[in-house]
């Protein structure tokens, strides 16, 4: 370690924050989502301590977060935007087109994928979205690489005039290890763009066609630049290994004990797009190729496309299971290595211990109110369109109160659709943060709906599930209801406390029986956030 560097202990997510800040980032944006949340949170803490003009702001959703980062880039500053993998779907429009416009100040997108679905609805692989958008992607495998790649991504972004996506997965985002840091540079200030002959930022078709062609023409340069991160080493060509991201981490670990594996040829992928020619040559020259990547067969399918499928070993031929995370055991099995001898499993059945609502959480009172009201008005098998937040746990016993959870905001959109085709009564249930993220646009159409459609907002004025972040707005939901055309008697604010049970149930009976749209707001503090004193801290003027 030179005296310039300093070693600290950091999680993968924190390493991203340090990398961005050390590279002179000025604006950090995002929307919370496990396992990406800690990037923003640790950046915010570092920024608070620095007081040198940097800022960190949550957006109402990932699209807004992305646009804020793009705006900061336009204004001549380096920016970072963070989200989980499914958040990139929400930001997709901005993401794709920012590849066409290009950037001014360096723009880095941190996307945390969740293979194994530890806390997600799917295990989609962000490398496809980067590929689709012609946006380069870096894929680190350790906290140190995460720091280095993020820091370097800013120069790369400005050099290539493109955003750079940093892709991490849960096991890296939440892996803690020592990182060597170099000194921070102050926020970069480039000023707003002056020389703009192509009007690259105005994507009317005439400009967009030019910009898009430029992007296509630039791809060989991009491939060239990114290939500097990928390492090809030809050794014994009977077996060639290709490893990317955590696949590389596990392979390196395995090589510590299984030295014979180091005799094989090896292609380490840390950056995309991959040089197709090099990949094709490797696949042709090696007799058999093993691919370890997290987690869709992205590289593997490229190989299969231009070589004999039978010699490619990965997810497609079940050398590694198609779904789920990689781990050391799966790699050992792939190479038919001896498996460790474990202690035998206990003789008794171990039931799952799922997370549960905190004791005394207002959500549980709300669920009890809803169930009781349904029972009293004679709805024997009530259905509730649910959403994503702590309250999703209401699907578990003893509540059994959520029948669907699809994506952010789906509760209200699905409730509207079901109401339009005649389902009665209909309930869509959403939290306040999720409401501002993707529910607002459905509320706009509620008043004109003729059906018995009831929107319930579980309003604890915080983004509770991801660790209690600030919600973009508070205390305005009923005003929005009025603004979109709901009458006073269609808007109801209830407080979910045990002592209010009877009163709330009576109200809900009336509301659910009313053959028209209603907006119900269950408003009470998240007790976790309350205990931590977060309301005072986050909303000091309240």
């Amino acid at each position: 370690m030179s005296k310039e560097t300093k070693q600290i202990m950091a999680m993968g997510d924190e390493a991203v924050a340090h990398g961005a800040i050390d590279a002179g980032v000025k604006g950090v944006f995002g929307y919370p989502g496990t396992p990406s949340t800690e990037v923003f949170e640790s950046a915010a803490i570092i920024i608070e301590g620095k007081n040198d003009g940097r800022i960190a702001r949550w957006g109402a959703n990932e699209k807004v977060g992305y646009e804020m980062a793009l705006g900061a880039s336009y204004a001549g500053n380096r920016s970072l935007v963070t989200m989980k993998h499914v958040g990139l779907n929400v930001a997709m429009d901005a993401f794709v087109n920012s590849g066409i416009t290009g950037v001014h100040g360096g723009l880095v997108i941190l996307v945390a994928d969740d293979p194994g679905m530890h806390s997600s609805q799917n295990e989609q692989d962000s490398r496809y979205l980067a590929d689709f958008s012609l946006i380069p992607c870096l894929e680190p495998s350790t906290p140190q690489e995460t720091y280095d790649f993020t820091r370097q991504a800013y120069d790369l972004s400005e050099k290539l005039d493109l955003p750079i996506l940093i892709r991490v997965v849960t096991r890296l985002a939440h892996a803690r290890g020592p990182i060597d840091k170099i000194p921070t540079i102050p926020p970069v200030e480039m000023g707003i763009p002056t020389d703009n002959p192509d009007k690259k930022w105005v994507l009317i078709p005439a400009n967009a066609r030019i910009q898009y062609q430029k992007l296509r023409d630039k791809m060989p340069t991009v491939v060239n630049e990114m290939s500097a991160y990928n390492k090809i080493e030809y050794k014994d060509k009977k077996i060639g290994i290709i490893a990317a991201g955590m696949g590389r981490a596990y392979l390196d670990q395995l090589c510590q004990t299984e030295k014979q594996l180091t005799e094989h040829s090896r292609f380490d992928v840390c950056a995309y797009p991959i040089d197709n020619k090099a990949l094709r040559k490797y696949a042709t020259e090696c007799d058999a190729v093993y691919v370890f990547e997290e987690n869709y067969p992205y590289i593997e399918d490229q190989l299969i496309a231009f070589t004999n499928e039978a010699k490619i070993h990965g997810r497609r031929d079940d050398t590694v299971p198609m779904s789920g995370e990689l781990d050391l055991l799966k790699l050992r099995k792939a190479f038919s290595l001896e498996l460790p001898e474990a202690k035998s499993k206990p003789g008794i059945n171990i039931p799952n211990r799922p997370p549960r609502l905190c004791k005394g959480c207002g959500h549980s009172d709300a669920f009890n109110n809803i169930q009781e009201a349904f029972k009293n008005i004679g709805v024997p098998d009530p259905r509730v369109f649910g959403d994503i937040g702590c309250y999703t746990l209401g699907t578990l016993p003893p509540y059994n109160s959520i029948q669907t959870t699809v994506e952010m905001g789906a509760s209200l959109g699905m409730a509207l659709g079901a109401g339009h085709v005649g389902m009665d009564p209909v309930v869509g249930l959403i939290g306040d943060s999720t409401f501002f993220h993707s529910g607002l646009t459905s509320l706009v159409s509620l008043a004109e709906c003729k059906g018995n459609v009831n929107f319930i907002v579980m309003d604890n004025r915080i983004t509770a599930m991801t660790g209690q972040q600030k919600t973009v707005a508070i205390n305005i939901i009923e005003d929005i209801g009025k603004a979109v055309g709901l009458k006073d008697d269609q808007i109801h604010v209830l407080k979910p406390l045990p002592k209010n049970n009877e009163e709330n149930v009576a109200q809900l009976e009336k509301i659910f029986s009313h053959k028209g749209p209603d907006l119900i707001i269950f408003r009470r503090e998240c007790i976790e956030a309350y205990r931590k004193g977060l309301y005072k801290k986050l909303y000091p003027s309240e």
């Binding site: 202990m9 496990t34 396992p35 949340t37 530890h118 806390s119 495998s141 350790t142 906290p143 849960t170 096991r171 890296l172 939440h174 892996a175 803690r176 290890g177 020592p178 590389r248 981490a249 596990y250 390196d252 670990q253 395995l254 510590q256 004990t257 781990d327 050391l328 055991l329 050992r332 498996l339 460790p340 001898e341 474990a342 202690k343 035998s344 499993k345 206990p346 003789g347 008794i348 059945n349 171990i350 039931p351 799952n352 211990r353 799922p354 997370p355 549960r356 609502l357 905190c358 702590c390 746990l393 016993p397 599930m465 991801t466 660790g467 976790e528």
Partner: protein
């Protein structure tokens, strides 16, 4: 002097969200780091504040470490803060590995098996060292002693120098004051003695 390891050491800490599994894991990670080992820790969290199963892996070695997770059947030490959670990860431990477990159950689910069956199952395991953390914490008049007692027990199977642990507590609990540091050092020593005597 730091002991040179001939292979990577893998430790798993298991508990229920809110019990402090991640904090305990970080103490071990810190000790490995201070001993100049290469080290990584993996933790899965997100919704853990609400009473679900939580675990953390720590891997350290004299050689570089790149996998933050431990392979099934190869953990050297499992620290279970709750007996059912200990049982959940038994298959992660190598055949001659050590298991340090609390016998004090945390029952926050209707499907929790009969307590006596849980205890019987855990006693059957080879290489298991048990302690009733609730009871011992009362003895030591330190409500938070449980985890550090487990750590003290586990430390007898770890290569770090004894003195190093005290400095870890000093660093970690500095902001909480000298009394808290001493309480932790005491609980740690108590745990160590349970195995050493």
């Amino acid at each position: 002097m730091t002991k040179v390891l001939d292979k990577a050491q893998g430790i798993i800490v298991a508990g229920v969200g809110g019990q402090g599994a991640i904090t305990l894991a970080q103490l071990i990670l810190g000790a490995a780091w201070k001993s100049n080992y290469h080290c990584l820790q993996s933790e899965v969290h997100g919704m853990s504040q609400r009473g679900g199963a939580v675990n953390a892996h720590i891997v350290f070695d004299s050689e570089p470490v790149t996998s933050p997770t431990i392979m099934e059947g190869s953990a050297d030490v499992l620290i279970g803060m709750e007996p059912l959670e200990t049982l959940r990860y038994i298959h992660m431990v190598k055949k001659d590995g050590h298991i340090i477990s609390s016998t004090s159950p945390l029952i926050n689910m209707s499907t929790y098996p009969d307590e006596s069956r849980v205890l019987a199952a855990i006693k059957e395991i080879e290489g298991v060292h048990l302690v009733d953390t609730d009871d011992v914490s009362k003895q030591l008049k330190n409500r938070h002693a449980g985890n550090v007692i487990l750590l003290g027990m586990a430390s007898t199977f770890l290569p770090m120098e004894h003195d190093l642990w005290n400095s870890i507590f000093e660093e970690r609990f500095q902001i909480k004051g000298e009394k808290v540091i001493q309480k932790n050092i005491e609980a740690f020593a108590f745990g160590r003695n349970l195995i050493n005597t």
